[in-house]
Symmetry: C2
Subunit: 459 residues, 2 copies
C-alpha cells in the first residue's frame, strides 16, 4: 500500500510504503529520494507540520524522521532556513593512476620488451574446463578462510611436479603458495635477518622491495658464468636466477654452483633461487634446480607468470625447513592471498597433464622464434652477437661500435620497444652496450614483423 | 637410435639416445637414472675406461660426462672410492602446519562461531557462467601484469555498486582492489603515519597486524551506541565497524557518527570504516556507509567474504583523495595481488545483478535463522537476552547469572562451538559474560539441530 506525496513547487512523488510502519516508510522514501537525486542538495523540505497534514500522519512521526535523517547527515536543519537536503559530499579528483611498470604490459605489435610470455597462448579452454570440474567437486567447507600457506591439494601437487620437472627436493609442508613472485620475495625478505645480495644486473624492483621491508642490500656482479659467488661475504642470503640469468641469459656454471652452495653451508646463509623461466630450455635437458642439490641451503621460487600468465598471480616457495616458521610468521596466520578456486584449478591443470602439454606447445613456439631471431641477426646484422639464447624468453643483442642510447634511439624512431641493458645495472653507466629482446612478447602474427623492424632499425 | 648398457652386479639399463651427440646422450641417460632412483645414492659407477670400452665410445667423452655430473652434484668423485652417485639430499621434516585461525573454518554441524556465511550458498553456477563469459571476452593483453590498484572494469563497477548499495561516494580512481580485508588493513596501516585506534572489543588480529607493520595501537571502548568517539585523542586513524559492530552487533548511533566525523575533521585523522557485513540488515533499510557523509575523512573497506565466500580473497578500499598516493606506494608498483580473471568475474556478477539476487537469497535465509534463534531463546531460555540482531550474521547471547567460562563449558560438553566474548577484549577479564553466535555458519540442514543443542546445553 503506497501513498503519493506531492508538493507544489517541488514536483516530487514519494512512494510511501506503509508495510513496515509509517515512520519507516517515510524515512525510506525520503532517503531514497535524496540518494537518487530526486531531492537535490540544498532543496528545502516542507515543515513537519505541513508534511504531517499532507500525509495525514502525526506530526511527531515526521519530526522523528527529520531528526533521524539529519543525524544520518542526509538533511540539515537550521533555525532560519528550515530543513533542507544536505549538500552532497564529493571526493576531490584522485591523482592520475601511475601506470603499471611499463615493461610488463604489451604495447603493440613491435613490443619486444622482456618479461612476458605470448599471452595469446593462454589456455582458455583448459582453464574453463578445470573451473567447471573444481566447482563441481569442491566441498562447501573449502570456501572458508583457507590455509595461509596454500591449499593442501596444490601444495601436494606442486611438490610432486617440482620434483619431476625441476629436480626440486621438497614436501607439501615446505611449500608456500604466494600471489606472484613479488609477494614471495617480500615474504622471504621478511623471514630473513641480515643483508640480502642481489645480482647486478637484475630487475631493480627486487632489491628495492627488500629495502622497503627494512633489509640492507648488496649487489654482486655477474659474468659469463653467472653470479660471481666469490664476491659474497657476510650476507644472510643471495637472490639469483641460476637457470637463465635475468637479464643476461647466462647459466650459472657448475663451478659457481659449488662455490655458491659452499658459501651458504659455510656461513649459514641461504640461496634464493628465482626459477622464473626454468621450464624453457631449448638445446639440451634443463639444468635441474640448484635447490635439488642442497634443499636446506636453497629457497626455491617459481611462478606461472612465464608459463601461463602473470595476471593469475600465483607463485610458490619451496623453503628449507629452518625457514618455514619464519615464513609462516611473515604470512601471519590468516593472510591467505590466493583464491582457493584458482589454487585448485592450477592443481588440476598440473595433475592431468594440461600444464605439461601447454609447456610443450610454448617451448616449440618460443624455440622457433628464437631460431628466427638468430637467423635474422646473422643475416642482417653481421658482427652483432646474440647471447643468453639457450633458455627462457629473452636474449641480449650486442652491436659492436654502438652505444645503448644510440641503439634505443634508432629503435624508438621505428616504433620498436626493447629494454636497454643499463636499466638493470646498479650503476647504469657501467653496463655493456646492448639491448634485451623479449621474443615471447608479441602475439604470433606480429612477431616476424617486429623482428623485421628491429633489424631494419639497427642495420 | 639407442644402446643398451648393462653392467653385471648393477642390473642397470640405460637408454643412450645418440640423436644429440654421444656426450649429451650419456649425460642425459645418467642424469635420468639418478633422478628416477634407478641408480641409487652411493652406488659405484664403472671407471671411465671400463664404461668407454663397454659403450664403444672415447674415454674422454665419459670423463667429460662424469665431470659435468659431478659439478652438478649428481655424482661424487673421490680418489679411493671412484665415481659414485651422490647422496640424495632430503629436506628434514617441516614443523606441523599451524592451523588457520580456528574460528574461521567450519568444524561441523554444531559450529556456531561467527565470521562465516553459509558456504553452501556459494553461487557455483553463476561463478562458472561468469568465468565462461570472461574467458570468451577478455583480450589477451589483460593476461599481462595488471594494474596494481585493480582492473579498471572492476573498480568502475565497484564505484557504481557501492554508491547504489551503500551510499559510498567515490570514483574508480579512489578504489584499490585487495586480496581480502587483512590485505586492505595492512595497506592502510602502511599508508598512515601515527597511532591507530581500534575498537574494544574487536578481532585481536587487526590491532596485531597494525603493530606488525610498525604502528602504535590504542583501544577505544564500545557501548550500546557503538565506539565512544569522545575517547579518541591524537590518533591518526580509528578503525571501526559502524554498521554492525564486531562482535557486539550494535550500530553506531547518529550522535556518535557526528562526533567521530567532527574528530576526524578537527584533527586531520581518518576513519577506517570496516563495512564487513553492511549488506545484511533485516528490519529496516540499511544504514548508509559513514563514508557517504564524509568521503575525505573516511577510508571505506568492504569484502566478498561475508556476501560470497572468504576463499575468493577479494576486498576493496574506497580511499580519501589524500590517502591515494600513500596507498599506491604501499602497493608498490607491480604488486598486483588479485587474479584479473577473478576481478572480471566479480565485476560481471555485480554488473548483471547476480550479486544482488544472491544477497536477497542470503538475506532471506539469514533473517529466518535469526528469527528462529530469537524465538528459541525466548521460549527456552527465559531471562536470556539476544543483542546485535538487527543486522549481520551473528548475535550476542547474554545469560544472566552465568559466567562465560561456565557457558562455554556446558556448550563444549555437548559439542557446540561458539566464541566467548572475552577473546575480543583487550582485557578479557573486563568482558561482560556472553557468547557470540554466528548463525550463518552451519549448513542449512544442520542449523535447527545446532540451535537445539545450543539451548539444550544452556537451559
Amino acid at each position: 500500500m503506497t501513498d503519493q506525496w506531492a508538493r507544489s513547487g517541488l514536483d516530487l512523488h514519494l512512494d510511501l510504503d506503509r508495510a513496515h510502519g509509517l515512520r519507516t516508510g517515510l524515512e525510506r522514501a525520503l532517503r531514497e529520494a535524496i540518494r537518487s537525486g530526486q531531492l537535490a542538495p540544498g532543496q528545502a523540505l516542507p515543515s513537519s507540520r505541513v508534511l504531517a497534514r499532507q500525509l495525514g500522519i502525526a506530526r511527531g512521526t515526521v519530526t522523528q524522521v527529520y531528526e533521524q535523517l539529519t543525524a544520518e547527515g542526509h538533511l540539515t536543519s537550521r533555525p532560519r532556513s528550515g530543513v533542507r537536503v544536505a549538500p552532497r559530499p564529493r571526493p576531490s579528483s584522485a591523482p592520475a593512476l601511475t601506470p603499471a611498470a611499463p615493461f610488463r604490459t604489451p604495447a603493440g605489435g613491435f613490443d619486444l620488451r622482456p618479461g612476458l610470455p605470448d599471452l595469446s597462448m593462454f589456455p582458455r579452454r583448459q582453464w574453463l574446463a578445470a573451473t567447471r570440474d573444481v566447482l563441481k567437486e569442491i566441498p562447501d567447507t573449502a570456501f572458508a578462510y583457507g590455509d595461509p600457506t596454500g591449499h593442501a591439494t596444490l601444495r601436494t601437487t606442486l611438490a610432486e611436479y617440482l620434483g619431476r620437472s625441476r629436480g626440486v627436493v621438497t614436501t607439501p609442508e615446505h611449500i608456500v603458495v604466494c600471489a606472484g613472485y613479488t609477494h614471495a620475495l617480500r615474504l622471504i625478505s621478511q623471514a630473513l635477518d641480515g643483508t640480502i645480495a642481489f645480482e647486478d644486473p637484475t630487475l631493480q624492483d627486487y632489491p628495492a622491495l627488500a629495502e622497503r621491508v627494512g633489509r640492507e642490500v648488496t649487489r654482486i656482479p655477474v659474468d659469463d658464468d653467472g653470479l660471481i659467488a666469490a664476491a659474497l661475504t657476510g650476507e644472510a642470503a643471495a637472490v639469483l636466477t641460476p637457470a637463465h640469468q635475468f637479464p643476461l641469459g647466462v647459466t650459472l656454471a657448475p663451478a659457481r654452483r659449488r662455490e655458491l652452495l659452499d658459501w651458504a653451508r659455510r656461513t649459514g646463509a641461504v640461496v634464493v633461487e628465482d626459477d622464473y623461466d626454468g621450464e624453457f630450455r631449448y638445446d639440451r635437458q634443463p639444468v635441474g634446480a640448484l635447490q635439488g642439490l642442497a634443499p636446506e641451503q636453497v629457497v626455491y621460487t617459481g611462478t606461472v607468470s612465464k608459463t601461463i600468465a602473470p595476471a593469475l598471480r600465483i607463485a610458490w616457495i619451496a623453503a628449507p625447513t629452518r625457514l618455514v616458521p619464519a615464513l609462516r610468521a611473515a604470512l601471519a596466520y590468516d593472510e591467505a592471498y590466493v583464491n582457493v578456486i584458482d589454487q585448485l584449478i592450477l592443481a588440476r591443470l598440473i595433475g592431468r597433464g594440461d600444464l605439461d602439454r601447454h609447456l610443450r606447445r610454448c617451448r616449440g613456439r618460443y624455440r622457433a622464434r628464437r631460431d628466427h631471431l638468430g637467423r635474422a641477426v646473422t643475416a642482417r646484422l653481421p658482427g652483432a652477437r646474440l647471447t643468453g639464447i639457450a633458455a627462457g624468453l629473452h636474449a641480449v643483442l650486442h652491436v659492436p661500435g654502438a652505444t645503448e642510447a644510440g641503439l634505443l634511439d634508432r629503435l624508438t624512431r621505428r616504433g620498436v620497444v626493447v629494454d636497454g641493458l643499463s636499466r638493470f645495472y646498479a650503476e647504469p653507466r657501467a653496463a655493456p652496450p646492448g639491448v634485451v629482446i623479449g621474443y615471447a612478447t608479441p602475439p604470433q602474427h606480429a612477431y616476424a614483423g617486429a623482428v623485421n623492424e628491429l633489424l631494419a632499425a639497427l642495420a
